[in-house]
Structure formats: structure tokens, C-alpha cells
Amino acid sequence: MSSEPIERRVSYLGDRLRGRRCGICGKEYFEVRDYCGVCGRKSFGKMVDIDLFYEKGKLEICTLINEPTNKFTKLGRYVYGIVSFHNGKIRVPGRLTDRITGEDEEIDFSVFEGREVVPRFRRRYSVNKSDIIPTISLAFTFADEYYPHQEYNVVKPNKMYETPGIVGYGVYIPRFRIKEGNMERSVPFIDEDSITAAVEAGKLALIHSGVDSTLVGKVYVGSESNPYAVKPIASKVAQVLKLGEEDEDVQGVDAVDTEFACKAATSMFKDAASLVNYPKSNIQYAMVIGTDNSQAAPRDCPGGELDLFVGFGACAYIFGKNDVIAEVEGWYSCTSDTPDFWRRDGEPYPMHGGRFTGEPAYFKHIRKAAKKLMERLNLKVEDINYFVAHQPNVQFPMKVAKELGFKEEQYLPSIQVAKFGNTYSGSSPLGLASVLDIAKPNERILIVSYGSGAGSDAYSLITTSQILEKRKRQKLTVKYQAENPFLSYVDYTTYRRLKVGM
């Protein structure tokens, strides 16, 4: 049993590492204090909110935990220590995450101590399956490894566009991979899930866009692997990322989870774009996140074929009308009731019969959506610079692209499934991100998602000159995450263990 009030309070502080600074003497606290211990009564009303969520810290001292307490046993052996921020003004306990420590590994603590670390939003520890999932950002990774420190600077918008579009995006893929044949797939660390990935991606999108998080009026999180059957991921994202104006401890934002297999996120692109365009909505920005710890039964079980393809990760897109990097030119969606892939409530893994997977499901809907949109916008294949399709494997997106008449240079840049696996709700958004990472201004991108069940959303996007300026703000590009020297490859058993999580 877990206590909801305790969970609420611990995660409120711990997820974002909130604290206060005394406006008089500058002393900092990792807790929301109403007065300063040094300045006393005169500091009432002079305490300033701070948080360490976007900061980088320094690992002061550390030790090895080889016999964790019960709730941490699934982490195995790990390094734990004390992290300081702001030149030692504030210190917090923390563990190093994203690190598998071998039984025989000799650790020289002095190699770790003194290095810069960044807080990561993770699961706190294991609980019963029926309990609230505890989270915390007292997990850290080294800033000079896979996940660099990036400052979050709110940038004042300088141009308002007629057409709404993407103003920023972020892709979060962890450093772990499993490599089988020619395919690499992303693997979560054991303390990750679709909730933690959604928050990390959202954080990266805010950093890239420079958008003031309090101006984000709506957040949609699309996933088919929410660890809760009932309880939104979006509420966690809203609170950790402080979306909308915060009043007391409530965020002034509409947050909702969506589900439609792998198109749960792309489906909401148009809703987000429409919402920011509606003159009376008062919503300047809307965030759409696709996140999945893509589920698959173990290889020898029914539905286990998927286990060869599933990845892990999240993509976040912020839509608005200020400083747009890619305008939404138009869209077309189509749906049919095709049972090609499903997961019944309470079942841990999805099933697919196999009969419908290809032709009447994937190809039919993508073809239809792409053709209809091109027809509507009067576009020919040559008018389109990049084509992005949903990527359950390498063959499908290539086949449909060729069928539609696209050439390799148009579709190959978006095909990332061989690097990350099928990231389900994040699949076509990840393909789009890899194109946005390299696109020049005034290029047209056609993205067509696919969600089993079944349906497709096609969007035509046109990049603007701002795409180049904003690119400098994002170190964690798709390429960076695909070809990173700090990738860590795991074997099949480890992959399954990490994927099941804490």
C-alpha cells in the first residue's frame, strides 16, 4: 500500500527538485520553505521559488550500493552519492542511473567524484503493481556522457505566423540498445517507462522551442503503454514541466492522454494546431507527446514476433503561431475498423493475428491518407522534399514510399527504425524529427502515421527560416542519439529485464 498524500508531496518536490532561495541572504533550500533559517521572520514573503530540474550539478562524493534496501533491489548494484548545485549552495542525495554495474566491477570513486551531472526524471523505486508509481529526479547521469546538460532559456518570440505549426520538438531515447542482425533497438533503463520518457521528451521540446512553459495551455500524451489503466501520463507531464500558470500547486493547463495504437500522438497534431489558431482559445502553445515503452510478449509466446522490433522512446512537439519552424499546410485522416493489432485490458502484451498487418491495415491506410492529402493540396511527388511514414520495420515504410513514387533521397532520411526499433506512438514523430533535424527552410515534409485498429493521419508541413536558428539549441538530435559513443549494448535477457522495469 502506498499513501497518496505522501506520494503527492514527495513527487511534487522531488520530480522537479523544487526549492526556495532566500531573497535576503541567498541561502538555498531543497524544500518549499516560507522563511529562511538564517534571516528568520524578516524573510517571510521574500523566499523565491527555485528548481534544479534544468540545472547541472556536481557529484561531490559517492559510494557503491551493492545491497540496496528492498524497494531498490531491482536496480542491482548502483552508485549513490551527494550532488551539489550552484557551487555547493545546495546539496541533494542522488543515485547514478543509466548504468549497469557488474558484479565484479571495481569502481574507483575518485573517477566519478567532481564530475558534472544532470538530473533525470525516473521511477523512484519498486512498488506493488496496484500501487501509485513513485517518481523522482534524484537520479543523475554524467553531463559528459550520453545526455548532455542543456540550459532552458525562455526566448521572447519575434515573429507571428499566419499558419500555426511546430515551434519546437524533442526526442528522448535512452542510451541502451539491443543489437540483433542489422537492427538496433532502444531499450529503457530499469527505472524508465512511458511516463518518464514523456517528461524527458517534453523537457527537450521546451529547451528547443524556448517557449515559456507557463504559456502551454494544453498537453496531449499519446501512448499505448501507460503503466496505468486509469491515470493520465499528461498530468505528470504538466506538473513536472510546469505547463500553464501554476496557482498554488495546480497547473493552469488542460492535460489529456490519447490512445489509438501508434497514431495516438500524430492524431493530435491537428487538434493542437487548431487549438492555438482558434482566436478565443487563449492558448498560445499546445504540446503533443508520443511515448511508448513498446510492448511485446517474450519471443516464444503468442505475439512474440513483435519482440524483434519494439523500441523505447518519446517525442514531443510544441505547436503554436510564434516563431514557427514548420507550418502545417494541411492534413487528412482516415479510419476503418480493422482488427490487426490489439491488447485487451489487463493483458500485459498486445496480440496481432498477422492476417491484416500488411496490406489491408498498414499499406491501405497510409496510401489512402497520403494520396488524399496530396490530392487536396494539389501536390505532386516532386513537390515534396521528405516523406515520413510510420515505421514498424524497415521494409514497410520503404515499400509504401516507393509505391507512392518517392525516391530514396525523399524517404530514407526519415527511416530510423533500424536504429531505434519501433517506438510505437513515437515512431512517425521520430521519423519527422530526424527530417526536421536536417531540413532547410522552405522544404515540404509529408508525414503519414499509422495506428492499428486502424487509421492514418497525413500532414503536410513546410519549414521556415527559423528551423536553422533553433537547431543550435538542441544537442540531443536524432543523429546524436543514434550514433552516440556512449551507447550501451545489452543482451536479450538484460533487455527483457530492463523493459519489464522496476
Binding site: I65, R95, Y125
Partner: protein, 400 residues
Amino acid sequence: MGNRPVIVAVGRTKFGEHYEKEPEKLIEEAWLKASQEAGIERRDLEACYLSDYFLPITNKLGLEEGFLSELTELHVPMEVTRSFSSALMNACNAIQAGKYNVVLVGGIEKMTDRWDKIRDDLMLLEDPWSYYAGCTPEANHELMLRAYIKKYGINGENLEKLNIALAQISVKNHLHATKNEYAQYQRKITVEQVLNARKEARKPLGLYDYAPISDGASALILTSEDWAEKFTDMSIYILGSSSATDYLTFPVRQDLTHFLASEIAIKKALKVAGISLWDIQIVELYDQSTVMEMISLEDLGFCERGKAWQSIYQSCQDYKGYYEINGKKLFTNLNGGLKADGNPLGATGGAQIFEVFKQLRGEAGERQAKSDERLKYGCVVELEGFGTKSYVYILGRNHK
């Protein structure tokens, strides 16, 4: 003559695993031993001050006062606090205020009943934010050691000596415990064993650096000065007592290399007792880990900061039963310390007082300090949590 509190009798159980006994049976045993010693009847007691750190968690036992009331068939005021020292502090205050003349102070813990979840409980109670971040009850000791090594720039040969000194603390405490019939571990260990356990764990501290979990109880009878003579002619006086507190969250504390609370408490206690630190001949330190024993020597002021390991190392090269510090003998943890005597949290302080009481009275038998002069002053330090509270008691014999 003031109203100084006087200890007239002490009692305790063996520490270790007592799976066959209910917690209240343990306290009964300790109390009966103490009462027998001084010829005290239940009905002489005017109040009881009890302690247990977390019996409501380990044994789902609340309102311990009620159990004791049933056991003793007494209806006197009873209070429960978390450590023996804090119970004793309340008892001292009441005696000094003239409220009572004869009270029972008792401590009890039953940790092995919850062996499977005890480390989570301990850590969560000790420092919740560190727990949430993945800390274990051992990790803070290791971090303190890391911070100590870094702050004082100890490396190379010195670092090796420091590590051996810490091992020697454990070896020494085990040696003392071989003469303590109540101790949890009455066997010798070697420096090699301590070092090998560290090697096996691939950590700076290993199994033999830490006190165990234990069951046990301890008790003492505290009286006012005027009443003491009715029960004994070998009274042990509480000459000075003090406590201090520190932050719960270890990483937030200003200095990670010592326990501020102990540093404050010893100064006050000495002032009240009106003696100097170097008058103290015997000390019972709270060695939840070997690091804690080393750091405590510095916190109390016996050793300079960053140098206690040198005195320990020198003294243990050819151990004679005491630490030699500044040419003076300091008998330390003669009962085996928490490491070997055992550490049933709520009862631990009682066992520390028990030892100093017996030593000052010259009744410690085989483990009696081989002192040149008769022991006159002893000191007990008990911590709660990871140095979140510190209690210091200065005890003395026939001090008029």
C-alpha cells in the same frame, strides 16, 4: 547538595536474537536484574521512562506503557521516547525538578522480528530524502568516510593506515566483547577478516565495519541524591548531561565529516559536570560503524579533526586495552561497543550506561579497565539516526 540524579542499579539482557521472547519479556528481564541489584520493589517506582526506536513498526506494538503497566501491575506515570538517552534525560529532569525520587528508565528493541524489512524502515526513519534517492543505512557512513578522506587529503600510505585503523576499531571491540557475557558476538575477529569483507563488497567499508541488528533490553534505577543511600552505598552520579540536534537530511548538513550535535552536546555536558575533557577515563562511543567511533573521538575533542585515525592506529599496533591519546589512556567501548555488544536501538544507550556504571564501581569483572588509578569519570555518547540527535552523559563516582 543539589538534586543530582543518581544511578543506583543497572540491568540488561543479552543482546542478539531473541525470537522466542515477546518484547515486554525482555524489558521485564532487564528491570528485574536492576531491581534485584538494588533491592527495589515495584511499588518504590514513582514513574517509568521507557524508550524504543520503532517497536510500533517492528512489532506493531503501540502504547508500550500499557504492556509495562500490566506486567508490573503499576499505574504510575510512564512515558516512551525513542532512545534510552532521551528517556534518561526526561528522568533526570524530573528528579532534578524534585518531582520524583525513584524512577525506572528502560529501553527495548526487537529488530530481528522484522529482519526482512528493517533496512528500509531504518533508512526511511533516519533520512527519508536520502532513502528516496537510493541510500542504505550503510551508505551515509561510507559517504562520511569519503568526505573525511577528501577533506583532510588523506592518501597513499596514510590512507592505508586509516583503513587499517578503522578495521582495528572493529577488532578491538570484538576483543572487548569476548569478556562480556551479554554481548551479541563474543568472539575475536582479525584485521584480515575486516579487510576481506570490504574487498568482497568492493567498498570502503564491509560487513565487519557495521553494528548488527539486535534484540535486547536495558534498565536502570534513577533516584534523587537523598534517596540513593537507601539502595546502595556505591552511587554513580550523573554529573552532566546534554543533548543537541542536527538536520535529518545528511547531504544538507554544513559539514559532512563530523556530527555537529555531538560537538555541541559534549561541551555543554562538561560545563554542567564542571570537569575537563581529560578527566574522562572511560568512554562508551556510539559505533554504529567504525567510522562513527573514529569521528566521535574527534567530535568529543579527544583527537584533533582529521587525526583520530593516527591515535587509533598507534594504540592498536600493540593494543593494551585502551587508546593512548596525548599520552593519556582512554578506555573505549569496553563492552564491545555497538559492533560486538549489539545495537538494539532503544536499549543501546542503556547498555552503554550499564558498562560505565559497572566500570566506575569496579564491578566489570574480567573486562574491568586496567587503569593505574581508580576510575572516577566516564562518558557516554548516544546518537539517534545518523547523528540527528546526540546525547552526552558524564558519570562520576561519589563526586561530592
